[in-house]
């Protein structure tokens, strides 16, 4: 069903473009003036931007290694601390603008992370004897291919816009770091301790590909012929970012009671960059005059 959504979305994107291509009519002498205007209304932009992002996950299905026999499983359930860690991204933007609408391809390198914690405790006559806390941080690198449609709200020097689109992400690298700490009451008193961090390469624990929808807003500020761009985007993950087949494949992680849930990742990013027009770069032309 999820694949059907992606396929339908792709069909909606590609089929109108195909049909439009067939409707082109040959130019006539009388329409040359109009064609010139139309030509001037178009613009290609090439730009670079970078910024920070925050990620959160939505659990589709929960999984656990620890199976309690005499207490409820909710006590050992993962607690996700969404949007608490900072990631970064770098983007190359290629945008075609026509009459206030822009079609933008934005290949992106995105580094994201998210964290969750688990805890276990053992008792003697309802008195805690040992507590163990696991802080788990996932760091993931993606190559993303977002396709966006933008609409300029105004035609002023400071030009706000809204945008929607979709992205397809390819996993480049992933790591997991687990910090183990605890409190030992059994040896008398309250003895806090920490274990050395467990850091493992976790590329195989994540899905190689995932996709999602994007929506956002931003503003372009025209400085001479270039645009300074502030861009806010929210990504909603539509497919799983974890590997379902390799879920239990790392013995070091499962030994600590860790296994990934079925999760989709949402992300909020803020980017700052600049765009350069690729047409009409003559001394008399200012990009502010045109879209």
């Amino acid at each position: 069903m999820k694949r059907l959504y992606l396929l339908t979305f792709c069909l909606l994107i590609c089929l109108p473009g195909y049909s439009q291509a067939k409707r082109k009519k040959p130019a006539s002498f009388s329409t040359q003036g109009k064609q010139k205007d139309t030509f001037l209304e178009k613009q290609w932009w090439l730009g670079f931007k970078g910024g920070i992002n925050f990620s959160g996950v939505v659990v589709d299905k929960s999984y656990a290694v620890i199976a309690p026999t005499n207490y409820t499983s909710s006590q050992t359930k993962k607690k996700y601390d969404n949007y608490s860690t900072v990631g970064s991204q770098a983007t190359v933007e290629i945008t075609f603008t026509f009459k206030g609408f822009s079609f933008s391809l934005q290949p992106t390198y995105r580094h994201s992370s998210f964290v969750y914690t688990t805890a276990s405790a053992w008792y003697e006559d309802d008195v805690p004897m040992l507590e163990l806390n696991y802080d788990q941080e996932q760091q993931i690198d993606y190559a993303e291919m977002p396709l966006l449609v933008k609409y300029d709200i105004t035609n002023t020097k400071l030009r706000p816009y809204v945008q929607v689109g979709a992205y397809y992400a390819i996993l480049l690298n992933a790591n997991k770091a687990i910090s183990v700490s605890g409190v030992d009451y059994a040896s008398g008193g309250e003895n806090k301790f920490t274990e050395p961090d467990i850091i493992v390469g976790a590329e195989y624990l994540f899905a190689k590909y995932n996709w999602g929808l994007m929506a956002g807003a931003g503003v372009n500020y025209h400085v001479g012929n270039i645009r300074v761009n502030l861009d806010l985007v929210y990504r909603k993950g539509m497919s799983l970012v974890n590997s379902t087949e390799n879920r239990y494949s790392n013995d070091r992680l499962t030994g600590t009671g860790d296994v990934m849930d079925d999760i989709k990742m949402n992300n909020f990013s803020v980017s700052l960059g600049c765009l350069f027009p690729l047409r009409f770069l003559t001394s008399g032309f200012t990009s502010l005059d045109r879209p």
Binding site: P68, Y71, E124
Partner: protein, 110 residues
Amino acid sequence: MIRRYILLLPFLFASACLEESTTALDEKAFTRIYDNDQFDASYYPIDMQQTADGGYLMLGGRRLDNTNFSGIYLLKADRFGNFVKELEVDESFVNPIAQLMSAGTSFKFF
């Protein structure tokens, strides 16, 4: 027409590469640590057999307070490894044999 289908091929490939969770995968491989939250409890595994319902029966030993003999512990899990129930066999029965022996639809450990 063919060109249109060729355009769709990358999208078909892209959607085919996405991850999906299935019951078959959940059943095929899992890791479980069965945990009792009593600090002084002590269990150790002896044997495990798959039961007719696709689940698992585990035979274990347990520490007894009043004797050096090993007590008997049984645990039933479903086909996904989820805990179903446990049984701490009465202390008058001690030292199970080293494996669960299948006898028809039942298992014996004496």
